[in-house]
Amino acid sequence: MSALGQVRMYGPAFGLMATLLLAWEVVVRALEVPAYLVPAPSQVVRAGYEVRAVLPGHVRTTLGEAVAGLLLAVVSGAALAAAMASVPWLRRALYPLLVVSQNVPLVVIAPLLVIWFGFGVFPKVLVVAVVGFFPIAVNTVEGLLAADRGMTELVRSLGGSRWQELRHVRLPAALPHFFGGLKISATYAVLGAVIGEWVGASSGLGLFITRAQTSFRTDRVFVAVVVIAALSIALFALAEALARVVVPWRYAARSKE
């Protein structure tokens, strides 16, 4: 992409962001809003600098939980999807349960998991997995079932076995769907970990927020918000980059005809 093209592509988003931040700064200063209510962006930056020593440790904990939970979600989601795609009655039995599971609020699940599994890292990993599992499972099931019938027939007509049909058609056809689910799960992974930590933890951004909140350091809460957003974007970008490597045909130029 040319430099001009890049400006056209990303310029509007950056422009809006900068304008909003500036407006925020101006309004907070002009109205003399107390910092414990809404800190100005410049104060948030200062607060971030203050906590530069303790923050990396919390980030490490949260990111570790998010990644571990995401991996657990990938393994369990893909496995369940495979089972649901190949056994119709299992699919009919599990689908409603899956949907119901998504309607139980996280703030209810998280304390329960802490009661059952203690204050360690594991319940947080589980919260992330519970959140991330659903988009991956549902998308992958649909991908496995959506394989083009013409393609599976073609493989059969050429003498291909059921296994070859799975390997050459169904699995590659499901991959873009799987990555669609993974991107959604990756977006929510950090959030899941933070909610898990909120309930009780010895380290992590959730704990950092709780502490900042109880001492009315709203500026530090905002620091955490910025960090969480950045981490979420990073995980999303990682999933996107992985998709580009694994399913390159999705990114090939579309036919001009």
Binding site: D148, G150, M151, E153, L154, V155, R156, S157, L158, G159, G160, Q164, H168, V169, P172, A173, L175, V247, P248, W249, R250, A252, A253, R254, S255, K256, E257
Partner: protein, 258 residues
């Protein structure tokens, strides 16, 4: 020495059972000699695709015989080079990978299969696009690639309206092109082919023999030999001999109207 025909269909009938039974084919008899090109022409929905799918081993017929090179293929895929109506290229395989699919499924090592595919893709005008994804190819190129994949697979060619999705001009060009690649290089090396189409010109330009099928339930109305010399040019469709043959096909099609 009398050899058995490469494609042989005897008293074949098929009905689809479901909420209501649909009789698709009734007492179809057809044969294609080894190394010749035959077409099966009929209106949409007459069951001609069903016949092709029976020969590809994808449908087990209710009654009758279906043999390829003397081998019973009812419900037994893997004996034909079948090309479905859509090009059905696998989007996750590059052009070369799509071309070798049949060989690969038949257990030919990938490097050997690619060695066979490369010269064919050159001949099919895809030499520069072997590394391209199907999404990067034009409609005509996709069709040529699907044909290359079909040519590389074992067994008689079974082509189900290969040019159905193309615009009229590209379609004519592709017919002449297919006629050329099929005719070359020597008569002994020609592949047995059965083409399904509803385009009369297409059937006549390409074939040695044309079978005309009635509306559903499909049955063979007439077998018409096409004695036009090969190679045939685009202008063959304007010759008096061609017009005479076309009239015969049309008359048979009108008779077969249900």
């Amino acid at each position: 020495m009398a050899t058995s025909p490469a494609i042989e269909v005897r008293a074949l009938s098929h009905a689809f059972t479901g909420e209501r039974t649909v009789e698709a084919l009734r007492d179809v008899n057809l044969e294609v000699a080894a190394g010749s090109f035959a077409s099966l022409i009929g209106r949409s929905g007459c069951g001609k695709s069903t016949l092709l799918r029976v020969l590809a081993g994808l449908i087990e017929p209710t009654d009758g015989a279906a043999r390829l090179n003397g081998e019973d293929v009812r419900g037994r895929p893997g004996h034909a080079a079948y090309m479905p109506q859509e090009d059905t290229l696998l989007p996750w395989r590059r052009a070369l990978g799509n071309a070798v699919l049949g060989l690969e499924l038949q257990g030919v090592p990938r490097s050997e299969a690619e060695g066979l595919a490369r010269p064919l893709l050159e001949r099919f005008g895809l030499g520069e696009f072997m590394r391209a994804w199907p999404a990067e190819l034009s409609g005509g190129m996709r069709q040529r690639l699907a044909l290359a994949r079909t040519f590389l697979a074992r067994g008689p060619l079974l082509l189900d309206e290969p040019f159905g999705a193309l615009d009229a001009l590209t379609r004519q060009e592709m017919q002449i092109w297919l006629q050329e690649v099929w005719t070359a290089p020597t008569a002994d090396e020609r592949r047995t082919a059965l083409l399904v189409t509803h385009d009369i010109d297409e059937a006549l330009v390409l074939s040695d023999v044309v079978y005309v099928m009635s509306d559903r339930p499909g049955t063979i109305l007439e077998r018409i030999e096409v004695p036009l010399a090969r190679p045939r040019a685009l202008t063959v469709v304007t010759s008096p001999a061609f017009a005479g043959l076309k009239a015969r096909v049309l008359e048979a099609l009108v008779r077969g109207r249900s």
